[in-house]
Subunit: 366 residues, 2 copies
C-alpha cells in the first residue's frame, strides 16, 4: 500500500523472485539487478507505488527490454538505451510519463523499469501486465484490455532509435521483432502507454512486491536452515511437479526467439520417470512420460534442487540437479479470450489448457 | 527553368525516360505513372520547380518507395501509404515540407513523388539524389553532402508506420531494410529532409526534365519513322555496348534485394560474343567475354531492340532481342569518396571503376 522506497536488499530479493516468476525466461534478472542497484549507489531513489493510489488521469508508460535473452548476456546494456527509449516515446507523445510500469514481473524486465524510473526520477508502479514472463509483445493483460502497444519506441546501445505506430499489437510484435534482431538481438523499448483508470483495470497488481516477497522467503529459509524449496512453494502456492537430473538440452534460435527443449531424468519419488520441458524464451509445457503436467499460462519453474535458485532456459546444463515447480497464473489469463493469446495452442501445442490445480489433483501430485 | 505544370504527356514520357535512367531497377515506372496520372484526373496539379529557384530556408523532404521491385508488382500500392509516410515524417518534425524531391530519377521513384506532391498540393523539385536508380538508401548524393537520411518514416498499405532515427545512413539502410521486408517486401518512405541551401548543393539537378526529354525523344523518333535507339543514344550521350538475344536469366532474392544475372548472346556486329550483366535491383556490371565494358556508377540499360523500351531486371525473359546501352553517370559520382559508396567494389566486384567514355574508347565501341 502507498509508496515504498526500495532498498538494495529489496532489489536483491526481487532478482530472485523475478527469476522464479520469469518461468525460465525473461532474461536473467542479474543484469537488471546490477543496473537498479547502480541507481541507488548514485544517490537516487526508486519509489514503488501501489496502482490503487494513482489518479485516473495519470499518464503511464511501460519500460522493458525486448529480444533473445542470450544476446543480452553477449551484448550487455549500458542502461542509457533504456532511458532513451522512454524519452523518445515521451518526445513522440509530446508528454512526460507520470509513472513507469513493468510489463513483466518475471526476469530482467522486472528490474529494468526500476532502473529507468530511478534514473528519470519517476515512481514505478507495483504491478505488471503478465504476473510472469512471456515471449511476445501482445501477451500482456494490457492487450486483453484493449491498450495499444504503439506508439512504441525501440533504442539500441549504439544510439539508433525507432518509433512504431501499427494497426494492432500483433503487427507491433512482428515489426519490433525484426528491428530487435537487426539491432543485434535485443533493444530497449517503451510502449503500452495508458491513463491511470485503464491501468488499474488492466494491470496484474502487486507483482513487484510479490517478487520481493518470494526472494525474501527463499533467503529467510536459507538463513534459518529451512528448506528454501518448501518456502517457495508456500509463498507462491505452487506445486512440486518433478525432481531429477538434466540429461539433455536442445536449443535453437528461430526468428529472434530462443526455442528449445530440456530433458530431466527423475530420481527419488520420480525415479524411472522422464520430464520434457519445451520452451520459447520461457518454459511452455512440461510433460512426464507423455502426460502433460503443466502448460502456459501457468508458470513452470526449474530450480536448483539445493539452493532453490531458478535456472533460466539459456543456463540449462547437463548434470544439473533440479526441482520443477508449477505455479498458478493470474485469473486474468484463464478466460477463453486470454487463452487465445497465451494458451498452449497459440504456441503450436495441440493441448487443452487445464488449470494446474486440477492437473496436479488428477495426477495425485497436489 | 522556373515552374512547369506537368501534363499527362509529360508523365507518359517521364515513365519511359525514368525506365532508361532506372538502369534495370528502381521498379517499373508504369505503376507510378498510373498514380501520377490519377492525380491529374482528380483535377489536381503537379508543378515541377527548378531547384535554382527555391529559397535557402525552404524545407524539403524526399519521398520514395523502398523494397524489392518485384514485390511492388505483386502487392500494388494504393498511394495512400506514400502520402502517409510524408505526413508522419512532417508530424515528427512538427513542420510541413515546402517541396518534395525525388531521390531517384530512375524507375518508380521518379513518378511516386509526383503523386505525393500532387496529392498534398506541394511542388516537386526537378532533381534527385542519383541521376539514375540505386539499390540502397545511402547511395545518394544527399548522403555524400552530409545530409542525414533520418528522421525517416516508413508506411505500408495496411496502415502501419515506423519512424527511424539512426546514428548514420548505413544504419538507416539496415533497419529500414528489415522493416520493408516485414511489411511485405516494400514500403513508402520519407527521408533526407534538408533546407534549400543544402539541397542546391547536393542535388543532381534537372533529372526529371531530363527523364521527360528522353521519353519524348524516343516517342518523337518512332512517330517520325526514325530509329528510337539512335535518338536515345543522342539525348543521353550514351554508347551502344551490345546487341543480342537473352539466353539465360538467374534471379534470387537475398536480404530484400533482387539479385541476379542475365546472359545475352550477340548477333550482327556482336556475333560470337557473350555479354553477362550482373544486377542487384539495378544493373551493376556488364562483361563481354571476360572483359568489363561498363560498371556502376555509370548506367547500364537493356532495351528492346525494336522499340527502345527499357527492360527492367525483373522482366528479363529468354528470347528477348535486346540492345545494351551505357550512359555516363553524373560527375558527382566520380570522386573517390563517391566511388566508395557506389563503385563496383562496394557491390562486391573486384573491379576498378573506369569512366565509360574511356572504356568504350579503349574497346573501340565509341
Amino acid at each position: 500500500m502507498g509508496e515504498t522506497r526500495l532498498t538494495k536488499e529489496d532489489i536483491e530479493d526481487l532478482a530472485i523472485g523475478a527469476a522464479v516468476l520469469g518461468t525460465g525466461g525473461g532474461g536473467d534478472p542479474y543484469i537488471g539487478k546490477l543496473m537498479a542497484i547502480q541507481v541507488l549507489d548514485k544517490g537516487k531513489e526508486i519509489t514503488l507505488v501501489d496502482p490503487n493510489d494513482i489518479p485516473d488521469d495519470a499518464f503511464i508508460m511501460t519500460s522493458a527490454f525486448m529480444g533473445t535473452p542470450i544476446t543480452i548476456i553477449e551484448k550487455l546494456p549500458s542502461g542509457l538505451e533504456a532511458v532513451k527509449a522512454l524519452e523518445s516515446l515521451e518526445n513522440y507523445f509530446g508528454r512526460r510519463a507520470d509513472y513507469i510500469t513493468p510489463v513483466e514481473a518475471g526476469g530482467l524486465n522486472s528490474t529494468i523499469p526500476l532502473y529507468v524510473a530511478g534514473m528519470t526520477g519517476k515512481p514505478v508502479l507495483d504491478g505488471d501486465g503478465m504476473g510472469r514472463a512471456f515471449p511476445e509483445l501482445q501477451m500482456v493483460t494490457f492487450h486483453l484490455y484493449g491498450v495499444k502497444a504503439t506508439p512504441m519506441s525501440l533504442a539500441d546501445e549504439k544510439g539508433n532509435s525507432v518509433i512504431l505506430d501499427t494497426i494492432d499489437n500483433f503487427w507491433a510484435e512482428k515489426i519490433a521483432r525484426v528491428v530487435t534482431i537487426r539491432m543485434g538481438g535485443w533493444a530497449s523499448i517503451a510502449l503500452y502507454s495508458m491513463n491511470g483508470k485503464k491501468y488499474k483495470e488492466a494491470v496484474i497488481p502487486h507483482t513487484i512486491s510479490k517478487g520481493i516477497e518470494i526472494g525474501r522467503a527463499i533467503r529467510d529459509a536459507k538463513k534459518h536452515g529451512k528448506n528454501p524449496l518448501d518456502a517457495l512453494l508456500d509463498v507462491t502456492r505452487g506445486f512440486k511437479l518433478f525432481e531429477g537430473k538434466v540429461v539433455d538440452v536442445s536449443r535453437w534460435i528461430v526468428a529472434g526467439f530462443a526455442k528449445g527443449e530440456v530433458t530431466i531424468e527423475g530420481f527419488d519419488d520420480f525415479k524411472g520417470k522422464t520430464m520434457k520441458i519445451m520452451f520459447q524464451n520461457e518454459n511452455l509445457v512440461a510433460i512426464v512420460d507423455g502426460e502433460v503436467v503443466a502448460s502456459v499460462p501457468d508458470l513452470i519453474v526449474v530450480l536448483d534442487l539445493e539452493t532453490a535458485e531458478p535456472i533460466t532456459t539459456e543456463r540449462h546444463r547437463y548434470g544439473y540437479r533440479v526441482a520443477v515447480v508449477g505455479i498458478p497464473c493470474d485469473a486474468k489469463w484463464r478466460t477463453p479470450e486470454a487463452l487465445e493469446v497465451v494458451g498452449p495452442k497459440y504456441f503450436g501445442y495441440d493441448i487443452e489448457y487445464v488449470p494446474i490445480e486440477e492437473r496436479v489433483k488428477a495426477l495425485g501430485l497436489g
